[in-house]
Symmetry: D2
Subunit: 350 residues, 4 copies
């Protein structure tokens, strides 16, 4: 067996604990040796839960004092760029949660830094490792439903996002924080890049929950025209309250495919004929993508051990950010936005 | 178009109203001209609901005073024999609800009378006309799942049966009143007659609902060995309270088939992630078999108009009664009972 | 019972036969007394199938020679206006298939003519009579999922539409011919009118099937912003080849609701573990909406008999046409189109 | 963290590899240090696959030469007793695959030996660790469907069992080899022991596959009367060919519960409206119970580390064997068999 991979968790919150669970409980070939977080209580709680001895308030300090091979970054989006650059600069492989960064310049900087330092960069698109999504992708690529023509992906999340995640100053809002996975999924399964994006948003629940962030929206509907002529739709609802919901539907030239379902577990109960059948729904994303989270981390560790390139990298993360930027401009300017406007702009500034 | 068929409803209760609905609202080629019932209020209510002018307390009187072509008998089982004989003797075609009769002698008498008077006899096995059951039967007969090896059928009904229907003196209990359809279905789809029957029963809810009928049971589980070597299972639960439930599962040499499902309507709602998804169940048998009830009556009317023989007749009703009798003897004597014991007995007495 | 309603079918094709089946086989209170069609073979075939004696090549001739109460118009869209005006002018109640007409001027003219002649006008939006859709609407209106925020409706149809139905000169294309029902459904269930519409279209299969109609599309994706701030999505695929598919999903402030499903019948078969389970899909729209078609015609007949107003009338048909016109302009001009542009235009021209 | 548990796999075949996968890939707290099998090629292949250095043809030799804490026994049933006794005698904790043993004497001997040597005995009833089954059990125990009245459990397996597993001389046939899980499940979820058992069997496919084992059956249907008055049904079909199928349905005084479903993965495809929807089925038991296998081994390891007693032990394995023995006698003697006959017999011979 290969040497175990030593990991530094950067961020100790909810997403960190999902990855820590995979690393500590299901991946014998990896070991969490250090955790970094700026909030001492969160840091100590997570370190205690997973039996990790070393904890630091900064990645720089962790790098100086502990030996490790890779970082798993789960901090807020606006910190991604600097942390990833720091890790790469120290020769650490980078697992980076979505959304990759706030803009394309940051994405490019991260990609370049990882390349120059010869470390791997894997993006946290766990749906690419979910057994249903991967099987579906395999079957689409095998031609089972023919050339995809129309793809719809949705993510509806139960709870109100934290303030930083809904403010367009510190985040790109729900389009990025909730729907990054959908941006990646539709591009992956359509097998084509976005050409043009049109977005409508709505705000139904914000006021009642005291959200006064400008431009806040809790419903979004994205229309995509792909380079290959295909069409795409993404919907986001957050907070949707009713559970965690992630499903995809693809219509190809030869047929239709559905991935995922509302039902969370095959336990069906009926005790009242006026109410009807009751079936569990997925309550949270760690439940829905339990295997996806294990498998993506297993893949990251295997890539480091074997030298194979991660199959979801910086380019994928960058495309999702580009879609989000086009989408945000679309609803702000109330018009369809071409990706060329976003991508040219980058080049122009480069 | 053929002449419309004039029908006399014998019995004006719940089942009568289901058939009246088919005849009055969905079958232009038939007309209800008279209704018979011994309970005046029920009689008048049903007659009023369907705009039928003639009502009588007895079939004999109806025959004497009104012209009609056929009877639809929905009275309690212990009245079936005499009513069917009376109708046949008067040259009326007979649609007879299940269970056909209390014993095989009565069945034979009804069959003989209909034959001698040259009238049709159709049994009320509406599942044979349900779109799902008929399609399933067609596909089984086409060999899709190969030779059936094991068939399971269940009927669970929501409400407590009336006293006459649960007393072994006036009825053959739930095995007959609730599960007659299953006896017919398993024989139909297995394509073989019963050879041996073993029955277990249980009584969980009777006491709490004040049922003091001896030998009452609200749960039953039937094991059948068929002449062709196949196996069968029937379950009955009544009152099950949770809704109306009728499903079949067949394992053939080549595969499995399921007919029916718990879900009553494709309307799914989730408003609470702790509760999960909620989907309607069928509340009652008229809902579940809405098309079956229309189609079986349409078939009966068509047979009369065209002279074709009904495809569910006295022999089918008689077999279901034979199964019930063997099953009842089985749980009373706590042993497997061969159909030959039941059928020989008939011959012996003939 | 009320007097039966005598009906004249205008159009003898596929949709006509669906309505004829309801009228002749399931609605004793109605009678088809005459059929009109310009194609003699189609006319005779349908008349023969339903035993209708009177047939004419024109509605005018039918009106002159036969007595009847109502017309059921199922001819191509571009003929709707003149036929409806003719029928209304002769005092006949009008059942008009969707789409109502080619533009809003035609819609207004039909509405006015029916009002002036004191006849009912019912639009053929049979989903409003489907048991699942009506139950869903009732539950939404009862507040079960709270205020709808986002509604998605899709109609994917199996076969290539006829030439007149895909040419923007004689029809408004798939947005009208296939998705009229969706336009009506989203407005009905959202409880609000469209404010702004954005449409993307794609053409994947046209070339291979020899379609050279300019602006032909076989995939469409509609984004709607409603007056109440809600969002809507409609997708259309035709020909989709894989079956007939009509489903709706609504996210409200309190929860999610799904109406309809891919599965066409609860008959599930598995004969090969490499293939998996196989379940029927609806092959065609008459299968999917069997009850909807019966119920809408029953409603039309009942309205005539009782004097009650049809619950789906000209205003609903007109709104669907307005949506289609905005949508068509959107994809032609590649921009979001406000309904005010379409509606003002009408006023301007009036 | 606790010290890792060192495990010896006894048996290196298919079931062994399922457990090896859990131990090697998903349980950092355990380590496979040695594998035992009498077939050298199988032994080497499995050892190679999981990187285990020590391999022996006998458990005795393994015990002499390697240090370890526990055995995981997956060899044929007729070897269970001697191997378990040997392991317990050497102070090793015992994880024993189902069926526990060939008769009650063997069961008692194993139980006694483990008790006397103060080692844990856990039976391989992985359904008790499946997320759906455990959640269902929790909800039943919480009273959600009231007192269970009727429970049905089925296991249908795809392939023909090996010769030793279908010969009543070396095994108790499918009732034991395939349906052990069902015997355990119905007793667990009913919360009561079996009182009386009646079994029907059939042999449809044996001849065509060259099976000449006397008393071979490929279909079985079990009726159970429980001590608490409840009813139970088990069905077994093997080879069923169509996939791996394990489902349970329970009717309680207050409602119905279903556990598991035919569908194996939420990926639905339709490419042909004449065929319909296609959905994966579980092909094999390791797929269906992927989490159950990991969780049961995790439980075993945790029990050893913490000293807690396994929650599925010898008494549960013994009851399943008693049910199988009663069931086998039932179909051989064609009569219901009381458990008291089986249990008394044991005492009598003791």
């Amino acid at each position: 067996m290969s040497n175990p991979i030593n990991v530094c968790l950067v961020g100790a919150g909810r997403a960190a604990k999902v990855h820590a669970n995979s690393l500590a409980n299901y991946l014998p070939q990896a070991s969490i040796v250090v955790i970094v977080d700026t909030v001492p209580e969160v840091l100590q709680a997570t370190a205690g839960q997973f039996g990790v001895r070393h904890t630091f308030p900064s990645l720089v300090e962790a790098i100086q004092k502990v030996e490790f091979d890779a970082v798993v970054i789960t901090t807020p989006t606006f910190t991604h760029h600097d942390l990833a650059i720091t890790a790469a600069g120290a020769g650490k492989h980078v697992f980076l949660e979505k959304p990759m960064a706030l803009d394309l310049e940051e994405c490019d900087s991260i990609i370049n830094s990882c390349q120059q330092n010869n470390v791997f960069l894997q993006l946290g698109f766990m749906r690419r490792f979910d057994p249903e999504f991967t099987e579906a992708a395999r079957r689409i690529q095998a031609g089972e439903i023919g050339q995809p023509m129309l793809i719809k992906s949705l993510t509806h999340g139960p709870g109100l996002p934290p303030p930083w995640a809904r403010d367009l100053k510190t985040s790109n809002g729900m389009l990025a924080e909730v729907n990054s996975h959908d941006w990646d999924t539709v591009r992956w399964l359509m097998g084509s890049d976005y050409r043009r994006v049109y977005v409508e948003v709505a705000n139904f629940k914000g006021a009642a929950r005291g959200v006064d962030t400008p431009n806040f929206y809790d419903n979004t509907l994205v229309s995509i025209s792909f380079e290959n002529g295909g069409l795409g739709s993404i919907s986001g609802v957050c907070p949707c309250d009713y559970g965690y919901d992630a499903r995809v539907e693809i219509i190809g030239e030869k047929g239709i495919m559905q991935i995922g379902e509302l039902q969370g577990q095959a336990v069906i109960v009926c005790t009242n004929r006026d109410q009807g059948l009751v079936t569990p729904i997925y309550r949270t994303w760690p439940e829905r993508f339990a295997w996806g989270y294990i498998r993506e981390m297993e893949h990251f560790v295997n890539c480091i051990q074997t030298g194979a390139h991660p199959r979801v990298g910086g380019a994928d993360g960058r495309w999702a950010v580009a879609g989000v930027l086009a989408g945000t401009r679309s609803f702000l300017e109330e018009r369809p936005v071409y990706l060329s406007e976003i991508l040219d702009n980058t080049l122009g500034e480069a």
